[in-house]
């Protein structure tokens, strides 16, 4: 017995001695096994920053520089133009219609997909992504085909005095189509992750379907919803391609801000073009800040997919 015990002890000693030797750092500084070397880190970070500066920051700066090239007076003067005002008004109107509608449809679609089992669910999910995978120009052209002079629907509606193409409804429709996925895509993973048990609890406690949605589902998704609406709004105000096809570019009537920028630019009115562009850039910056605040404050209440 005694012999055996000593034997064990010596083995243990050997082991611990061997381990200590292996762990002991050679130069007193342990390298982190899951980290790149310092040089590689600097190089990679630098590369990323340089790329960002070149592709994002420089153009943004250029917009402001161009807009203020002839001084602030000229900047404000160029903005003070009825056509510009009407473009701003139209953009705000379109967003004010398209974003709330997409909010409602997005919530409904996400609710249906995340909380219920039904046939064709996978198809619906794919359909929601369609606007992201189709070129915006094509999206616009679809509406031209649907409501144009050569279509069945367009002339019929026109006979009742309803203009779709080259008018506000067409622009709203095209904008809605392009921005539809933002809200739904944001909410689906979030709602799927939350499951249906809280809703079931609410129902078992006697809540109606509407009460369940209002008191339970909606509060659980509110930050994710706000996040989706923010992105949806930014895109709705900035959309160019789809709107360009259906708008008809009628000055003072069907020109949104992005279209107006293009027209001014093509007329060599650079200061005015860039002045309007600064407004859009400002919108983008505000969106970015709000988005970052949301991600920072409510990151875990926004779907995992949004945190990349």
């Amino acid at each position: 017995m005694v012999l055996e015990a000593t034997h064990h002890m010596s083995v243990a000693d050997d082991l611990s001695a061997g381990r200590a030797e292996k762990i002991k750092p050679r130069d007193g500084k342990r390298p982190n096994p899951v980290s790149e070397s310092f040089g590689a880190k600097v190089a990679l970070t630098g590369l990323a920053l340089a790329f960002l500066a070149l592709v994002l920051l420089l153009p943004l700066l250029a917009v402001f520089v161009e807009a203020f090239r002839k001084g602030p007076a000229e900047f404000f003067l160029s903005l003070n133009d009825p056509d510009t005002f009407s473009a701003i008004r139209l953009t705000l109107t379109v967003a004010a219609i398209a974003v709330p509608l997409n909010l409602v449809f997005g919530v409904v679609a996400a609710w249906a997909i995340a909380k219920f089992e039904f046939k064709g669910k996978a198809f619906l999910t794919t359909l929601i992504d369609l606007p992201f995978s189709v070129s915006p120009v094509i999206s616009g052209l679809v509406y031209v085909l649907l409501f144009g002079a050569g279509s069945a629907l367009g002339p019929w509606l026109k006979s009742y005095g309803i203009e779709i193409l080259f008018a506000l409804p067409g622009i709203v429709l095209a904008t809605m189509f392009v921005t539809f996925p933002f809200v739904a895509r944001e909410l689906i993973p979030l709602m799927q992750e939350q499951g249906t048990s809280e809703e079931e609890a609410a129902l078992s406690l006697g809540a109606s379907g509407w009460q369940t949605f209002w008191y339970v589902t909606l509060p659980n998704i509110k930050w994710g919803l706000l996040y989706g609406v923010l992105l949806c709004n930014a895109r709705a105000m900035g959309e160019f391609g789809a709107v360009s096809v259906v708008s008809g570019h009628i000055r003072g009537l069907t020109n949104t801000m992005p279209l107006h920028v293009e027209i001014l630019y093509n007329e060599y009115n650079f200061v005015a073009a860039f002045a309007v562009a600064t407004l859009l850039a400002g919108l983008a910056l505000v969106t970015l800040v709000l988005k970052s605040i949301l991600e920072y404050r409510y990151g875990d209440e926004i779907a995992a997919s949004a945190k990349h």
Partner: protein, 351 residues
């Protein structure tokens, strides 16, 4: 409220989760659905609540057919396995929710809802936590809030899915005793689901043993333990030993020896003999007994558990002996079960 489940079948995409289940639950009773995972306990509970609709059959609350009613109209209190507390509401708001969503004259004023919530919080011994959020509570506390929330609507039936499943052993035992007390003071008809036999046998007035979407046995803890009516219940509840036997003219044979036991309701042919390790009597000689050699012997609390090899080394059965018994290895022991049951083997390829 009496609850009567009549010939209920439930299929999920053609997969049968429940086969033709019937069960009568008496008013004021505390009943346990006990079975291994996947046996259909949750499905049965959700059917009673109205969270699922039966593929076939009906469920009666008292004299009325509840199958025709929606979840909201059934007025059941459901405590979910993972509590499903409303994460953005405080404890008091969670408990008051069922009252807040009532319509018209049924809806109490806000102060009264809050008062009721605080009373219930007191009942579940969580006074002072009314302004916490669910993620600021421990598992046991969440469990209590979920129960208070379910009781706030004065449910006709209280349904609990694995109420103590996610808690550690200490809290479990405590809450178990406490649930029994609450049940006794409030008198709700209560059905709870568990896969823990100790919990079911200790807590429930009656236990419903389920397996593979079927009810195997309904009875008191004593019934389930002392009079199991199927091989499954023998195996699932408590310890049991089994031996393959043959029935001939009402006499039970083990290989070429008679065991000394008679049956009259089992057809001739191959069968299985079941008994509890402690339900045996030791015999000296063997003119009708089960005899075997001691394979292992260990002390379990105040008794000795012995594994016997019966019929060569083919079968092992466990029996319980008084602690004085030496049960030396390889020694021979003869015994006969005092309480036992024989189940005929399924008629399969033996023909």
């Amino acid at each position: 409220m009496d609850v009567s489940i009549r010939n209920v079948r439930k299929e999920f995409d053609r997969f049968p989760a429940l086969h033709n289940v019937s069960l009568d639950i008496h008013s004021g009773e505390l009943i346990a659905l006990l079975g291994p995972s996947g046996s259909g306990k949750t499905t049965l509970l959700r059917l009673i609540a109205g969270l699922e609709t039966p593929t076939d059959g009906s469920i009666y609350f008292g004299p009325e057919d509840a199958s025709l009613k929606s979840v909201q109209e059934r007025n059941v209190g459901f405590v979910f396995q993972h509590y499903a507390l409303f994460r953005h509401m405080t404890v008091a708001e969670n408990i008051g929710f069922g009252l807040k969503v009532r319509k018209g004259n049924d809806r109490p004023p806000n102060e009264q809802i809050r008062k009721r919530a605080l009373e219930l919080l007191d009942l579940v011994q969580l006074s002072g936590l009314e302004n916490r959020y669910p993620n600021q509570l421990s598992g046991g506390q969440r469990q209590r809030v979920a129960l208070a929330r379910a009781m706030a609507i004065e449910p006709r039936v209280l349904l609990l899915d694995e109420p103590f499943g996610a808690l550690d052993a200490q809290v479990r035992r405590e809450l178990r005793r406490w649930l029994r007390e609450i049940h006794d003071t409030t008198g709700h008809t209560t059905v709870f689901v568990t896969h823990d036999q100790e919990e079911a046998l200790e807590l429930a007035d009656r236990v419903v043993v389920m397996s593979q979407g079927r009810i195997e046995q309904v009875g008191t803890a004593d019934d389930a333990y002392d009079r199991p009516n199927s091989p499954f219940v023998y195996g699932f509840i408590g310890d049991s030993s089994t031996l393959p036997v043959r029935v001939e003219n009402g006499e039970i044979w083990l290989a070429d020896r008679t065991v000394g036991l008679q049956v009259n309701d089992v057809p001739d042919g191959n069968a299985s003999l079941y008994f509890r390790p402690h339900d045996i009597t030791l015999l000296d000689g063997c003119g009708g007994c089960i005899a075997g050699t001691v394979a292992t012997s260990r002390r379990v609390a105040g008794t000795r558990r012995v594994e016997l090899e019966v019929g060569g080394s083919q079968h092992r059965v466990e029996i319980e002996l008084p602690i004085e018994h030496v049960a030396a290895e390889r020694s021979r022991i003869a015994f006969r079960p005092t309480r036992w049951k024989v189940f005929p083997d399924a008629q399969d390829s033996t023909a």
